[in-house]
């Protein structure tokens, strides 16, 4: 699976594209960042995995490994999104937190599907309704390497160049007056 940095980079590229649309409203900016968190959320299991490996408990390690299988499914994304939504109780309408998290989580699954899957498995989107025979991936890159990060980094650099040319960092709502750059 790509690392968190790659997932965040891809999420940034998506929100950058949205921020360039004519109908884009600046009030959406807050939810962009929740989308970024949602894009990383299914990999929350890495924290459990590191803890399990440090403890060296085999049962714990096995549960953490299976957690990956489940968190990388529609059900897993749904549950993790609900979990994170609970951290924002003062939000007037929690669906505005839940939806960007869920869409980001689904984006995460699509990103993971480009890879040659770890342990031969793909992403089992419909777990537990389907078994491992329905797991699928596009087998484009090996996980764990720098390839996806480098590609994402190049595209991200391209977005920064476009913003510099336009003198408008739309994602951050920063517009440079012409005189400050000249």
């Amino acid at each position: 699976m790509p690392d968190w940095l790659t997932h965040m980079g891809i999420a940034y590229i998506v929100i950058w594209g949205i921020s360039k649309m004519p109908k884009y409203k600046d009030s959406l900016r807050k939810y962009f960042w929740i989308f970024v968190i949602g894009m990383v959320a299914p990999d929350i299991e890495r924290i459990f995995k590191i803890v399990a490996q440090e403890l060296g408990n085999v049962t714990f390690i096995n549960i953490a490994s299976n957690f990956t299988l489940i968190s990388h499914s529609i059900l897993g994304v749904l549950l993790i999104s609900l979990f994170i939504t609970a951290f924002f109780p003062h939000e007037p309408d929690c669906k505005y937190i839940f939806l960007p998290l869920f869409i980001g989580g689904m984006g995460h699954l699509v990103t993971d599907m480009i890879m040659n899957p770890w342990q031969g498995m793909g992403i089992n989107l419909f777990y537990p309704l389907t078994g491992s025979e329905f797991a699928y991936s596009f087998h484009l890159v090996w996980p764990g390497g720098f390839g996806p990060l480098i590609i994402t980094g190049i595209i991200l650099l391209g977005t920064v160049c476009v913003d510099l040319i336009q003198k408008n960092f739309s994602v951050f709502n920063i517009q440079f007056p012409k005189s400050s750059l000249e």
Partner: protein, 168 residues
């Protein structure tokens, strides 16, 4: 958000943990033996009759040692034992003990005279993703605590600061 709803949301990952625990204790025979089967070494050894050749398998394991003639690899097995892999025809000179490998091949562990796994393809898994996730995690914390004024104290967005921002 209602308190009861919030508690239910906070407990929702327990469903994932429950399913993960269930998955740990069940074994399903392959439904479609014609496609390569991902299987753990432990399961393969326990059900060697089911996973015997010509079923193509995909296994992952850590290299414990390799033979001097570079034909056999020994992966960490179960109960302090090892898992023997026949790599005839493959160039495994780049493989060193301690590496994690993903192997494709066929199991002959059901045959008392062979007792090995024949590899037809291998991939050395070098994963930087955990290390690359650390800067990602730092960025997320920055977004939460600096960008969103997230406060541990109230376990939520600060309503006051959100209103201030709106008024500004």
């Amino acid at each position: 958000m209602k308190k009861i709803l919030r508690i239910l949301f906070l407990l929702s990952p327990l469903i994932i943990v429950g399913l993960a625990y269930y998955e740990m204790n069940v074994w399903h025979p392959p439904l479609n033996p014609n496609i390569p089967q991902p299987v753990s070494i432990e399961t393969l050894l326990e059900h060697n009759e089911t996973y015997k050749a010509p079923m193509e398998l995909i296994i992952t394991g850590d290299v414990f040692n390799k033979s001097d003639v570079d034909e056999y690899l020994f992966l960490d097995g179960i109960n302090d034992g090892y898992f023997k892999v026949n790599c005839t025809g493959l160039n495994i000179s780049s493989i060193e003990p301690g590496m994690t490998l993903e192997l494709r091949g066929y199991s002959f562990y059901d045959d008392p005279e062979k007792q090995y796994f024949v590899a037809i393809e291998f991939h050395i898994a070098i994963s930087y993703s955990i290390y690359l996730s650390i800067p990602g995690a730092i960025l997320i914390l920055l977004i939460l605590f600096w960008g969103f004024k997230f406060q541990i104290k109230d376990f939520s967005f600060s309503r006051k600061s959100a209103e201030d921002e709106k008024n500004a």
